[in-house]
């Protein structure tokens, strides 16, 4: 286990805390890219997170000491590689409060996890006249697969609307659930607004209202990096998908957690090596879980990197991660709100909001904000955030989005605010109040 768990977070960040200023939770020196660019204000962790050295080292150690194709070779090195993969799965499962590793399937990321369900479960269980419920808050990854599944199967896609401050409208959701509802898919945390949805409550609610064998699918891409999760306790959520790269792990790895009984009954998603048991000329039987859903040579280094990311986050403490982000969020919201012309989107209640600030500046398109901020080393995203259905409902073509993580500190917030002020000055918005954004 040593190679996987190596490298804990140094607590230097906290120790550096000056007076009331919010220092970073993790030390920047743990992150080679950030350490190498002291002037960079990386505020796009909702898109992807920077990597701690511990993650990079764990992956490198695997390639340098334990690398071979797992599950296949009848020699010691291959056995070791298989063991590393197995350990990584256990490590990730423990971090997410998953007791049975058979229910944790490694995927390429959230997108693949969601497509897996839409294809493997959806094709066999959704029929003409059935209904699939999604929400207006979804990332395209948790919207388009369901929309297309509905089109293929002749089912109806129902879209749950939002309250004015960007939360799911639970009354609307209630009215959408019928005996024909086969799938209810929603995110745990919105990438565009930061909204934290009451997952357990929604899932329990769906259980009572929808068809008895309807499935509840949760997109956890933005929750996994920021919240303490015990997936075994989310009894009414059937499938939970997340990506490694947003939680300090590498790109190309993520997981789908599902119920063993359902996974056993489902047909495989992709066919090939590793997922088979016996291949006859006419018929094939499937390997046991989770391998049945992991066709082909797996991303072992990715799984090891993700496991190391879990260890790193655990050493910071997920409650501390959440508290830290909330502190920066509060600061950013307070300061941005004082700038005339700034419109902030998303829940006002910080308890229902992750470290994401989506905003517009009157008379200035978000792309121009992002370009000007970039000139000062402040990285924010501008655009529709892969959530066009949401942007239509907010009635904006795009927003600028800053998102916080463990390595951010108060200086990043200050740089953001200063950049927005600078943008405003450059565009002399005050000179022409008749201008609207867009």
């Amino acid at each position: 286990m040593s190679k996987v768990s190596g490298g804990r977070a140094s607590r230097k960040g906290r120790a550096e805390k000056r007076g009331t200023r919010a220092a970073s939770l993790a030390s920047r020196s743990d992150f080679p890219l950030l350490a190498g660019s002291p002037a960079l204000h990386y505020l796009d962790s909702a898109a992807t997170a920077q990597k701690p050295r511990a993650v990079l080292d764990a992956m490198r150690a695997y390639y340098e000491h334990d690398y071979a194709n797992p599950h296949r070779g009848a020699y010691t090195l291959s056995v070791r590689s298989t063991e590393r993969y197995h350990e990584a799965r256990e490590r990730v499962a423990t971090f997410f409060g998953v007791g049975d590793t058979r229910r944790l399937i490694f995927t390429r990321g959230t997108t693949e996890g969601l497509n897996l369900i839409a294809t493997a479960w959806g094709t066999e269980h959704v029929f003409p006249g059935d209904e699939i419920v999604v929400t207006a808050l979804e990332h395209h990854a948790n919207f388009v697969p369901w929309q297309q599944l509905a089109l293929r199967q002749g089912a109806k896609l129902r879209i749950c609307g939002l309250t004015s401050d960007g939360r799911l409208d639970l009354d609307a959701l209630a009215s959408l659930l019928t005996a024909r509802t086969r799938i209810v898919a929603f995110n745990h945390v919105s990438n565009a607004l930061g909204t934290i949805n009451p997952v357990a409550e929604i899932a329990a609610f769906v259980r009572r209202r929808a068809a008895p064998d309807a499935i509840v699918v949760c997109d956890g891409a933005q929750a996994a990096p920021h919240l303490r999760l015990t997936l075994d306790d989310l009894a009414d959520v059937d499938f939970y998908a997340f990506s490694g790269h947003k939680m300090l792990g590498p790109m190309g790895i993520g997981a789908l957690v599902g119920p063993v009984a359902l996974l056993e009954r489902m047909s495989p998603y992709q066919m090939g090596g590793d997922m088979i048991e016996i291949v006859g000329d006419e018929e094939t039987t499937w390997n046991v879980l989770p391998h049945k859903f992991e066709a082909g040579t797996p991303n072992v280094a990715g799984a090891i990197g993700l496991a190391a990311a879990c260890t790193y986050l655990e050493s910071l403490g997920m409650d501390a991660v959440r508290a830290h982000e909330r502190e920066l969020l509060q600061l950013a919201l307070q300061q941005l709100a004082t700038i005339e012309g700034v419109q902030l989107f998303g829940p006002r209640d910080l308890a229902a909001r992750s470290g994401v600030v989506s905003f517009t500046l009157a008379g200035v398109h978000p792309h121009d904000i992002a370009t000007i901020l970039d000139g000062d080393g402040v990285c924010v995203r501008a655009g529709h955030h892969c959530a066009q259905p949401l942007m239509r409902r907010l009635d904006v073509p795009a927003t600028a989005r800053a998102s916080f993580y463990v390595y951010n500190d108060e200086r990043d917030v200050e740089a953001l605010v200063a950049g927005v002020e600078k943008t405003k000055t450059l565009f002399a918005v005050a000179a022409d109040p008749s201008l609207r954004s867009g």
């Binding site: 008379g363 398109h365 792309h367 370009t371 565009f427």
Partner: protein
């Protein structure tokens, strides 16, 4: 001039603030919609033609300062131009924003472009080139195909 100053020159900001020819055109001979799926920018371009000559141009849409200013300047520049003249201007602007044209080394180009030279700042921002060129691609498409008329608005898309 810093890169940012070169991008957001006063004339660009001014056109963004008060875009010219920003209106729906009744009785247009050509209507084309431009769209950049990457950022969601969208624009509609209307042209009125007399024979081979553009006699009026207007646009509406949502987009960043660069795309808006570029569209505004384009509608001004193209009025009175024949189809081949507009095509030649398209090529010049395209070369300018993609960094293939050094106006200071090319007096003829400098003269043709006039104030459109301000769009050259984009060349230092590869991710913004599409913003500057969208309106021009719409122009080209509007002039290029006889099928795109008022009763059948054609769509062009910039690849992300």
């Amino acid at each position: 001039m810093s890169n940012l100053d070169a991008l957001y020159q006063e004339i660009i900001l001014e056109h963004n603030r008060r875009p010219r020819n920003y209106r729906v055109m009744e009785g247009a001979d050509r209507v084309v919609k431009g769209h950049n799926p990457l950022c969601g920018d969208a624009l509609t371009l209307w042209l009125k033609l007399e024979g081979d000559r553009v006699i009026d141009a207007s646009f509406q849409g949502s987009g960043c300062a660069i795309s808006r200013a570029s569209a505004s300047m384009m509608t001004e520049a193209v009025k009175g131009k024949t189809r081949p003249e507009a095509e030649a201007l398209f090529t010049r602007v395209h070369d300018l924003v993609t960094g293939k044209l050094d106006v200071d080394a090319d007096p003829a180009a400098k003269k043709t472009l006039g104030s459109l030279r301000a769009l050259g700042g984009v060349a230092r921002f590869p991710i913004r080139v599409k913003c500057a060129s969208m309106a021009w691609h719409a122009l080209r498409s509007a002039l290029g195909s006889d099928e795109s008329s008022t009763n059948g608005a054609s769509e062009i898309s910039e690849e992300p």
